[in-house]
């Protein structure tokens, strides 16, 4: 989920860049070179996950997993997602230079919010952990679609219908992300629980 070039107004672009820059600064400060290697390789995993397509009826959607990245990285999700988006822009021309900030905020801010909201649940019983992980996957895409819609509406109030359409189209994605994140967390908890610490 990202906004293409040429749609947003200057104040929204500048605001997005400002938030993305501060988030990235906080995230980078929190990690040293030892952890940053891990952030980089997880960021590549996040990049590759976005190439995985899952079916919804006759159509398909790619995984986003920004919630999962948030759970594992906390504030470091900002630089990790920024870098993955730079690569998407440079390698595939998804998004671009001027919308980089806004697109980073769309993905990374929900990741950080989900980190604080749902991470404590992961260490409770199996059912609570699954529920927390589902809420995390669902919520991160919900918030991402919300921020995306708001940045469209703040740019041009007549984008309301377009924003509403995009939000509605993302409802099934939220559910799938919730399910995938829940199973993914259950799997990681079984196979390699230290990863979530």
């Amino acid at each position: 989920m990202h906004i293409a070039e040429g749609i947003l107004s200057a104040p929204v672009l500048i605001g997005g860049a400002g938030v993305a820059l501060s988030g990235t600064a906080v995230g980078l400060k929190a990690v040293d070179y030892e952890r940053i290697t891990r952030v980089g390789i997880l960021s590549s995993a996040f990049f590759v996950a976005s190439l995985i397509h899952v079916n919804i009826g006759p159509s398909s959607t790619h995984l986003i997993l920004n919630g999962l990245v948030g759970l594992m990285l906390g504030w470091a999700a900002f630089p990790a997602i920024l870098v993955a988006l730079i690569l998407q822009a440079f390698l595939f021309q998804y998004g671009g230079i001027t919308v980089l900030g806004v697109n980073t905020v769309i993905m990374a801010l929900p990741a950080v919010i989900c980190y604080y909201a749902f991470r404590p649940l992961l260490f409770k019983g199996y059912k609570l952990a699954m529920a927390g992980a589902f809420a995390c996957g669902f919520g991160s895409v919900f918030l991402a679609a919300l921020i995306m819609g708001l940045s469209l509406i703040f740019s041009e109030e007549n984008f309301l219908e377009v924003a509403a359409l995009i939000f509605a189209a993302n409802l099934p994605v939220m559910i799938i992300e919730g399910i995938v994140t829940a199973f993914c967390v259950a799997f990681i908890k079984k196979v390699n629980p230290e990863m979530l610490l």
């Binding site: 293409a4 070039e5 040429g6 749609i7 200057a10 672009l13 990235t24 980078l28 990690v31 070179y33 940053i36 290697t37 891990r38 952030v39 980089g40 390789i41 997880l42 960021s43 590549s44 995993a45 990049f47 590759v48 190439l51 995985i52 899952v54 079916n55 919804i56 009826g57 995984l63 997993l65 999962l68 630089p79 990790a80 920024l82 870098v83 993955a84 690569l87 822009a89 440079f90 595939f92 021309q93 671009g96 230079i97 001027t98 007549n158 309301l160 219908e161 377009v162 359409l165 799938i176 399910i179 995938v180 994140t181 199973f183 993914c184 967390v185 799997f187 990681i188 390699n192 990863m195």
Partner: protein, 254 residues
Amino acid sequence: MITEPFTAGNSVIHSVDPRMKIVFAVMLSCVVAVANSLLTLSAGLATGLMLIVLARLDGRAVLKRLAVVFGFMALIWVVLPVTYPGPAIIALGPLQISQPGVVLCLKITLKSIAILSILIALVATTTLSTIGSALHRLGVPGKLVYLLVMTYRYIFVIENEYQRLMRAARIRGFHPGTNIHSYKTFAYLTGMIFIRASARAENVYRAMLCRGFKGQFHTLGPVAPYTQNRAFTVLTTAALIVILGLEIWNRISL
């Protein structure tokens, strides 16, 4: 497969210092992104296309890359002309096609394609490792550049791993569909990717420490001479002035 089809070549654009390409790509994109008149946006598009021609890129490949924005463009062309308030140019039964709506769609389309062509011509013609070192020399913090280069280095490894897991799943008769079993399989598969990535990160960092890594990558060997810097600067500066001039003139005359 992840490829960088535009990095090979020996055109004018390929022989420009990557730092200058990045700086001009950012400046041109920002100016076009805030521009508002149809004339300025057309000048922006002309600049982008001129740079693509100068880079001698394969037209079909460029078109394929530009196609990523067509989906969203189609959506706004369908929605905005009928929902945007303003005088109608044509009425199709109960639907009014509003003139300001069409103009807005046209502006967005021009702007989007203009910025994308600038990105393809100037940034996609540089390999990512070169971009990394150029960003570092432009003053981007070392940690961020390290993260970028590291991520780039490992997307290919992890993509291979994903293909391998997917192949294994298919051989065991996995047919993706719209059901919980498929989502569960994809979830376990991505879980495995993340677990392996995390384990790999530890090994890689230890191996790098053993080889004396102190948080810096060094460029070995001489950098190829960039022979077209001056011509490129003159040309892009002229384009920048024309675009800015048109926009300012347009705003004053309003």
